[in-house]
């Protein structure tokens, strides 16, 4: 195996791990605010690592530029969308979850 392939597998494994964490978080966490938290952080990191793996596979091409653009775009928009969702939940007076209730 070439060093590039090893790097691709490492990044892909990291991306899969963080996306799995995000999926489990979205399913298991108790309320909308904590779910927005995991969706904006773990999922963005998972998608980012996987896109890095794709860019490494493609090598130096025009496609790699598009992948990097995609990466930057996801890093900007995904937390913004999660923020909008959490703010909409706050405006609808949804109470945050507490352990004592």
């Amino acid at each position: 195996m070439t060093p590039t392939e090893i790097a691709v597998i490492i990044f892909l494994g990291g991306g899969l791990f963080f996306t799995l964490v995000a999926a489990v978080g979205v399913i298991r966490l108790p309320d909308i605010y904590s779910r927005a938290h995991t969706a904006s952080q773990a999922d963005t990191l998972g998608a980012g690592l996987t896109l890095v793996a794709v860019a490494l596979t493609l090598g130096l091409e025009i496609s790699t530029l598009k992948t990097v653009l995609l990466l930057v775009f996801i890093f900007i928009t995904n937390p913004t969308a999660a923020h909008a969702v959490a703010r909409a939940a706050h405006e609808q007076d949804i109470e945050p979850w507490r352990e004592d209730r």
């Binding site: 892909l12 991306g15 979205v26 399913i27 896109l51 596979t57 969308a81 999660a82 909008a84 939940a89």
Partner: protein, 89 residues
């Protein structure tokens, strides 16, 4: 061989999307559903990028860019329409 690994990763991503679908169908509040669809959209973009590299079709990346734009638009639009007072951003 790298192509097979990328395809396998894409299959795993689709399975994760199916898992997140539970929250989109079940999720008690409307915001839960929007959030789940946003996660599904992000994973869709990643799946498209993986397929583009694995099947060696560079055009798929353009579609992935459109999906990323659309996903963001959809999340913001739905959260804006579901709140009576408007200001989400």
């Amino acid at each position: 061989m790298v192509n097979d690994i990328l395809l396998g990763a894409a299959a795993v991503f689709v399975v994760l999307v199916i898992v997140v679908l539970y929250r989109a169908v079940r999720g008690p509040t409307m915001q839960d559903r929007v959030l789940a669809v946003n996660v599904i959209g992000t994973n869709t973009v990643v799946i498209l990028a993986l397929l583009s590299a694995a099947l060696d079709v560079p055009y798929f990346l353009d579609i992935a860019l459109v999906y990323a734009l659309l996903n963001f638009l959809m999340a913001v639009a739905i959260s804006k329409f579901t709140v009576e007072r408007g200001g989400v951003m």
